[in-house]
């Protein structure tokens, strides 16, 4: 038994190292593409700062999804809960400042979660239906509240509210930077501007992630390991996950499944609401429609990440990076083509080597490699011929990238076994 423990430990270590090596390789490739394609934005601190800004609300929505789905509740209503979060954050924020905005946004989202819990847990309504209803209700209720509370002649309107916006927050959430490195002497910034191969790239990435970071970003980033810790290392987390895997078993061991699911769904809503708060912090006020489908993207990021916090963070980061890149520079997006080509070439090389080493002569074994090298050629050709993509094709960079990564990574996604299953106390499957 001890040997198996050691083995699993070793496996974990190996996976951890592999992930590190993978990240290092990606950075190396990116920096190569940056130099060759002369697209500094591929690794600039600005891009990574933007990526962080864009990834955080997605990751928070995704975390919301994770909490619910790990407890067996499919939450397609994240978008609606996020909308509630933005409105309440704006409403409380303009009156009492950033801290109040944070709390109110959390509560707003949690209210959405509570409705979802009542419908799905207590009444056994199909989870998707309830989520869709919340997505209708969220924007409807907030619009209604705006129409009542922000109409002309109201005190809020005096302070600059309109039906589509709240007044500006009374106080802003503080931002921090890493002293010395990305602030003051700003060593990383200096390194970045040298444009040295690899070193500037790493410096740029680090600076982007550490310069002038909103405290809520730190909170959000911290929430990812925290979620992992709570769900996988605590008793409560185990109970929560057991409700998503086999609620009948959990029930038979004295776990209060209803309560756990309620708690999980309310937390889920609160996290989505927190995503909304973050959006409000960035814009310093509530703007109608500012969530722009991020709840759905968050859901996608969660599925992308195989219902795990780390994977989810990777999915959100990928999306945020691509979106930040496209917002900053269309030229850098063409640089991505080169990056893709490099990646595919490496894949081809590795594949051929592996096949040769395994001594597999079959032609069919090589189809993957052949397809990859063909795709690499197409990408290279595109990179060399296209100098400006139509804007519409630039806008969809994150979406296409997500799709491509998902279809390329061979799928071994596994959702919690009782996810979306209606559970009634005392009834067995």
């Amino acid at each position: 038994m001890t040997t198996s423990v050691a083995a699993s430990e070793a496996r974990r270590v190996r996976r951890y190292h592999l992930a590190l090596i993978g990240v290092a390789l990606l950075i190396l490739l990116l920096s190569l593409a940056r130099v060759v394609a002369d697209a500094p934005d591929l690794t600039s601190s600005g891009t990574f700062a933007a990526a962080l800004l864009l990834a955080v609300p997605i990751a928070l929505a995704g975390l919301g999804g994770l909490w619910a789905e790990r407890a067996g509740i499919v939450n397609i209503g994240l978008e609606g809960m996020m909308v509630l979060g933005t409105w309440f954050a704006g409403w409380a924020g303009y009156q009492w400042g950033a801290a109040a905005a944070l709390i109110a946004g959390l509560i707003g989202g949690a209210l959405g979660g509570l409705i979802h819990a009542i419908a799905t847990v207590s009444f056994g309504v199909d989870h998707i239906i309830s989520g869709v209803a919340i997505n209708l209700l969220g924007p409807g209720v907030t619009r209604f509240l705006s129409e009542v509370l922000y109409a002309q002649g109201t005190p809020a309107a005096e302070k600059g509210a309109g039906i589509t916006t709240s007044p500006t927050l009374a106080s802003e959430a503080p931002s921090v930077s890493l002293p010395l490195l990305s602030d003051g002497p700003d060593l990383l910034g200096k390194l970045e501007s040298t444009h040295w191969f690899l070193i500037s790239d790493v410096a740029g990435i680090l600076r982007g992630l550490t310069h002038d970071v909103n405290v809520l970003v730190i909170l959000a980033v911290a929430l990812i390991p925290l979620t992992f810790f709570v769900l996988w290392r605590t008793a409560f987390g185990l109970r929560l996950r057991s409700c998503g895997e086999n609620p009948w078993a959990a029930e038979s061991l004295g776990v209060n499944v209803y309560l756990t699911k309620y708690v999980a769904t309310v937390i889920s809503g609160a996290l989505a609401g927190l995503g909304g708060v973050f959006l409000v912090f960035v814009t310093t006020k509530y703007v109608e429609g500012q969530t722009a489908g991020r709840g759905f993207i968050g859901l996608a990021a969660m599925i992308f990440g195989n219902w795990r916090p780390g994977g989810l963070a990777a999915g959100a980061s990928l999306f945020g990076y691509a979106d930040g890149l496209q917002l900053r520079s269309s030229q850098a997006v063409t640089g991505l083509l080169l990056f893709g080509a490099l990646l595919l070439l490496i894949y081809t090389g590795a594949e051929v080597r592996r096949r040769l080493a395994a001594g597999e002569p079959g032609v069919r074994q090589y189809t993957g490699a052949v397809a990859a090298s063909l795709a690499a050629i197409v990408l290279l050709w595109l990179w060399m011929t296209v100098d400006k993509l139509p804007n519409e094709f630039v806008f969809i960079t994150p979406h296409v990238l997500t799709l491509l990564v998902l279809s390329a990574a061979s799928q071994s996604l596994r959702m919690p076994k009782a996810d979306g299953v209606r559970y009634r106390r005392g009834e067995q499957h």
């Binding site: 600005g46 933007a50 924007p139 109409a151 002309q152 002038d212 429609g289 917002l327």
Partner: protein
């Protein structure tokens, strides 16, 4: 949501100040249908509403304003309901009303219609057009004159033809000053996806990049997303140009106020009010009224005094446009 700025107060205070005693017209019932977003958007719609309110005050009109559904699917219905309720004239705000106004105008030939930002397409329709490109030209002139780095930026909310007019004018104006000036252009969303007017975070990222690359003045035509442009300007210690209303007046935060060098004002309120007044005077539709520099339908704001030093150059450019020696392109 047609690329509005954020505020009517500048426009409305002015109109109130200019109020004159008007004859009380009995039975003048004016209906107005907003674009998506509706009244209270602190932008385009509200500017139109300011004109309507002025008509109510000065002309003693009875007014009714309706907002469409979020997907804009009931624009035609709003016009019909107003017509059925006896409103005449009826105004549609936003180029999206073009088709619906045409249909309604044929159904109700006895009622006069007006549409903001779209051309007349029936005998009883008046098109209220604005020469955004001319105002933007002036913004371009001012920006190019003020720019130290010879590098400007333009952030458009949604890549549609309306916003492209802003871009075209701005570029032409800037190039008229320095033909080799560099202008970065970024749109936030494609045509049909109006979230680009509601994404301050994206506006901020786009503008940030421009400032990092050396631009020192960024002009935005992106509705609420402009807030992000101002934030980026404040963070970079550089300047920005607002749009639609005098954003120096409407933006409340002191740190953002001081980066708003000027705003390209689009007087939708004037357009709406003038149309109503003309209607009262017996004018019939079938033609367009263009609000350009000549009639001060568009222009640059001077609050804050940031462009006082280049006022002469701006005035000169304006003169050239007014007298026709310069024609501003409406397409980039």
């Amino acid at each position: 949501a047609c690329g509005g700025g954020s505020g009517d107060s500048g426009a409305s205070t002015e109109t109130q100040g200019a109020s004159s005693e008007a004859p009380k017209a009995a039975g003048l019932k004016i209906g107005l249908a907003f674009d998506v977003g509706g009244r209270g958007d602190k932008s385009f719609n509200d500017s139109a509403y300011a004109g309507l309110e002025r008509a109510q005050k000065e002309l003693g009109a009875e007014i009714k304003d309706l907002s469409p559904a979020a997907d804009g699917s009931n624009r035609g219905d709003l016009l019909r309901q107003l017509a059925n309720a006896g409103y005449n004239p009826i105004i549609g705000v936003g180029f999206a009303y073009g088709e619906d106004i045409k249909a309604a105008a044929t159904e109700y030939p006895d009622i006069q219609f007006a549409v903001v930002d779209s051309a007349s397409n029936a005998p009883n329709v008046t098109g209220l057009l604005f020469a955004e490109e001319q105002g933007s030209y002036l913004a371009g002139v001012a920006a190019a004159d003020k720019s130290k780095s010879s590098h400007l930026g333009f952030v458009g909310g949604v890549e549609n033809d309306l916003i492209k007019k802003f871009q075209a004018g701005f570029e032409a104006g800037a190039k008229s000053v320095k033909s080799d000036i560099k202008i970065d252009v970024k749109y936030l969303t494609p045509d049909g996806d109006f979230s680009g007017f509601k994404a301050p975070d994206k506006g901020k990222i786009a503008a940030e990049k421009m400032y990092q690359d050396g631009a020192d003045i960024v002009y935005h035509a992106s509705g609420d997303s402009g807030l992000g442009v101002f934030q980026a300007a404040a963070a970079a210690g550089k300047q920005a140009i607002g749009v639609d209303s005098d954003q120096y007046e409407t933006v409340k935060e002191a740190d953002l106020k001081k980066v708003i060098m000027t705003s390209m004002i689009k007087r939708v309120d004037v357009g709406v009010f003038e149309f109503i007044k003309a209607f009262q005077g017996g004018a019939k539709g079938g033609s367009n009224t263009v609000y350009d520099l000549k009639v001060d339908g568009v222009g640059l704001s001077t609050s804050g005094g940031f462009i006082d030093d280049v006022a002469a150059k701006v005035d000169e450019a304006k003169k050239k446009i007014v007298d026709g020696s310069v024609t501003v392109p409406a397409k980039p």
